[in-house]
Assembly symmetry: C2
Homo-oligomer: 575 residues x 2
């Protein structure tokens, strides 16, 4: 059944609590969003003592289910002012699950600025002074933690951005090599951790029992089918393992939906220079890894390790969204510059989507030149120096636009748009507008049917069908996030008739339940309803469910416009 | 009847239009708020081409009515995201009225960054390149304008803050000495003017006829009684002329409502050092002016000219709110430092309330030390240098708090609170919370009955009566702002049975109408309803009608708390 672990960051105390019945069937995003709604006053200051930072493993995390090692982090977002769930791979989710910790809740706020770290293992919990970890980047923190607590220790940490409570701050997780390549990136949750003066959380599961499975045989059968599905799908079995997520660069550019120069057109002249193919080739030449899992038990392995021109490690977890944000969006075309920007984000603990979009806005405002990678690196470096420029850009795209008087800022609910233009990939545009998370492709990845031909086809350039597409995906995604599954399983789930049933079979086998697929859909809707309820209490309205004015501009090459009314959009999450 | 003058800032063209019937009976705030509601899309970017900046003289402006020379400026606010009306004295309101211009509307947005200036006189309108006025402060701009266009020319201009489109930017008006001592301070309207690349507006009424009065005798009689009332009231006839608005320092400090060190207590140990008495004494010693009107025809004359220790001009229009914001709020106690901060704000074009509160927030966040006037001057100076620190603090208290990770930021609707603590002066606290303008004492000055014993008495420390007090004052103030009258006339209006009737008599005599006091009350309500309607369309909700969390703290010396519920507050402007 597990426990809730509450940590009072002011008093430096902790308590294990029984899980209330109402939370028993919840995990991952379902649990974080429910608890944020229940326990966080919606109008509180996100950096104040009344906000809470909640980590919850997915329902399947810790089990042998393939690709189930995602950890959800939830809080009131300093970026959006609404509820936030941001999930990531790494090592922590499975370890918390094995330790029987259903949720870890950070509460309160210390009065001073001294940082602590939290050590969780099978013997209990320690809250220790962070000592010389303060002002260190995530690379140094994670190296120190693995040195001290052993390899393969789960680590959650913040870098200089989180310490400064910047709205772009991420919480990073040690990847399988002990590097901060995985991130709870979106929504500034690193700032919430920083406000509670927690520098790092270390999780070790040595001595912990395996996660209990009520029906081992049934679980094994379902998981076998599950793995087979993931292996056999062309996206999760071939495209992602071979080229990583950057496989999308050429695909989305070809589709004319690759937002270039702050969303001015859908094709980037230098897409080839930053494509998945070029990256894979470069990695092979320089020595790196093209096919790496973000957590143990992943069979897709879309992550990577990228070396510099001298063959030395430069960055890892170098993803499509990052490459787009620092690349086409800013018109920087040098892959090594983009990789360095990614590395800085991992080290300082910053969301790469938010930061890439921010650099584009800084270019729009004349702070730096379009396409100038070296100056962009210098500017991003200011975050690590605690300099005023860093406090501007580290607070994200809208903040930077406001600092510079720029009125062309691509955000919804104050969060930067990701790598698919909403005018030429309308299914994901609907998700950007209506997701309680703010602009977020992972909340309902309409790219599937719009461009990839997965789960049917819906014309990306027309209105028809796109609201239903986004709705279905948002509901399914919420459930996937509750299970702790990687979003990419959606490809296999959508294209296999027994896809969702197989997930349900694993849940039933693990917990001794008899859920149906309808129950899972209902869970997805309940999550979204909770999140919308929080946002309404926090003061967000229908106005916040719209794209900004700039998307009324016509978008080449298809010369499409954003043509959904407020009334259209309000249909999306009406259940 | 007058005309509307529309200026297209992109095309650099202008047009005079007939006044629609619906606007015929409106002036000042009544007209700007109606036009913003009618013409500005509520969800537009405040710095984008769809926002409009509208100036309107009050209904009595240009007439001989005492203290009727206030000009309203209206737009969607870059600071609050809602509607804004900010009025100021100076020379422009009366001149526009004499030129028959009922409203001046700046529309559109140029594509480049070149600034223009607008010259309006009896011969017509010119839109000229601003040339070397660019990047100049308001002192230099106004001096250049008076040199070129003659003394007593009306000037509206922005300084470096407006050019940078900062949320704290004001629009300044030349005072009777041609200095920028008067400001449309609140809500960042200078940024809207900057976004439209208008550096200055020059208004000359040479050759224009007098404002027509339908019944000259009746007007004369009413105005005579009006002047008598203003002269005979102890506040407008004695306190304000003698000591200026800073007469309030000792009064509010004594009442325990003088917010000190970012609203931590209601008494400032060094209040005496920055009191009206000390200021008047200092001015007399050094040579300056203690009793000066902010516009011709003012009989209260609460403005001043303040010299430095060498007897040279330092600043003017040195007001209570400014002295509080840079003084008690930041714990700076050196009057000359405070005066220098005021001067910098006038020169760069910044709202002194917003900037003072911002400096306190910067101290809260450790950017500079509490009470350190010299460092505060250096920091504020960064705005004039176009430096990153300036882009942070110039964007106001909330922005600075966000940049620094401070969760203790005294704002409502993102606008900084003025100089009366809402816990120990609850009537004005209700106004802060519920005014469509954001935290603004001038929107419903509950200090009257709470502390000054004007218009009755309502206990400032208790809930009882304060919602009704604020409601009545907000309605009356909206009407006063429509008339173009100085807010301080409210003292005489509240304490004379025939006060409001006298204003109505002047309106009737000028326009040949037969309005009643009920009509004027109805006008006030209509203004507030319009403003709330705009805000709702812009996405503001009941959540925005509340004080921030920090006011739940107990406030010494009376140890009062903010104890109004959302339901209580929603009663205030329910008509």
């Amino acid at each position: 059944m597990g426990k809730l672990l509450r940590i009072n960051t002011k008093e430096k105390t902790f308590a294990f609590e029984e899980v209330p019945d109402a939370y028993a069937a919840l995990g991952g995003r379902a649990l974080t969003s429910q608890m944020v709604l229940d326990e966080v006053p919606a109008t509180c200051h996100p950096l104040g003592k009344n906000n809470k930072l909640i980590f919850a493993p997915g329902l399947l995390s810790g089990s042998p289910a393939a690709d189930s090692g995602r950890l959800s982090a939830g809080a009131k977002s300093p970026l959006t002012g609404g509820i936030k769930e941001s999930n990531a791979g790494g090592l922590v989710s499975q370890k918390l699950a094995k330790l029987g910790i259903k949720a870890l809740i950070l509460e309160g706020k210390p009065e001073g600025n001294d940082y602590s770290m939290i050590v969780i293992n099978n013997d209990g919990v320690e809250i220790l002074p962070a000592g010389n970890l303060e002002k260190k980047g995530n690379y140094a923190v994670m190296e120190a933690m693995w040195d001290k607590y052993g390899k393969n220790t789960g680590v959650l940490s913040i870098g200089q951005a989180g310490e400064q409570c910047l709205k772009g701050a991420s919480i990073n997780q040690a990847d399988i090599n002990g590097r901060p390549g995985r991130a709870h990136g979106r929504g500034g949750l690193g700032a919430v951790m920083g406000s509670k003066r927690i520098k790092a959380i270390v999780v070790n599961d040595k001595g912990a029992p395996r996660v209990e499975l009520q029906d081992k045989d049934a679980f094994k059968t379902a998981n076998k089918r599950w793995v087979e599905m993931l292996h056999n799908h062309p996206v999760t079995g071939e495209g992602l393992p071979a080229l990583g997520t950057a496989v999308l660069v050429n695909v989305i550019n070809e589709a004319g939906a690759f937002p270039t120069k702050n969303f001015r057109s859908g094709r980037f002249d230098h897409a080839k220079d930053i494509s998945g193919e070029t990256i894979a080739e470069t990695i092979e030449k320089r020595g790196g890894v093209t096919t790496e899992p973000c957590h143990p038990g992943c069979v897709i392995k879309c992550s990577n390790v990228y070396h510099d021109k001298d063959g030395k490690y430069l960055t890892s977890g170098f993803e499509y969204e990052t490459i787009w944000a620092f690349g086409a969006h800013t018109t920087i075309k040098e892959l090594d510059d983009i990789a360095m920007l990614d590395r800085l984000c991992d080290d300082f603990g910053l969301d790469t989507i938010e930061m890439g979009v921010t650099l584009g806005v800084a270019m729009e405002g004349g702070m730096i030149e379009w396409g100038d990678g070296k100056t962009a690196i210098d500017l991003l470096g200011k975050v690590g120096e605690y300099a005023p420029e860093g406090k501007i850009i580290g607070n994200g795209a809208l903040f930077t636009g406001d600092a510079l008087g720029v009125d062309r800022v691509p955000v919804v609910k104050k969060q930067a748009l990701p790598a698919y233009d909403p005018r030429s990939c309308k299914g994901v545009g609907i998700t950007y507008a209506t997701s309680p998370m703010g602009a977020d492709h992972t909340a309902g990845y309409g790219v599937t049917a719009n461009i990839l031909g997965v789960g049917g086809t819906v014309d990306p350039l027309k209105k028809e069908g796109n609201i239903a597409l986004s709705q279905g995906l948002q509901v399914a995604t919420a459930a996937v996030d509750a299970a702790g599954l990687c979003l990419f399983v959606a490809f296999a789930v959508l294209d296999n008739e027994d896809g969702l049933q197989t997930v349900v079979d694993m849940l039933n086998a693990q917990y001794g339940l008899s859920l149906t697929t309808d129950d899972v859909i209902a869970l997805g809707k309940a999550i979204l309803n909770n999140e919308r309820a929080f946002n309404r209490k926090a003061g967000l309205t229908e106005v916040d469910d719209q794209l900004p004015e700039m998307f009324k501009e016509s978008f080449p090459p298809h010369n499409t416009k954003w043509d959904f009314s407020n009334e259209d959009l309000q249909e999306t999450l009406k259940f």
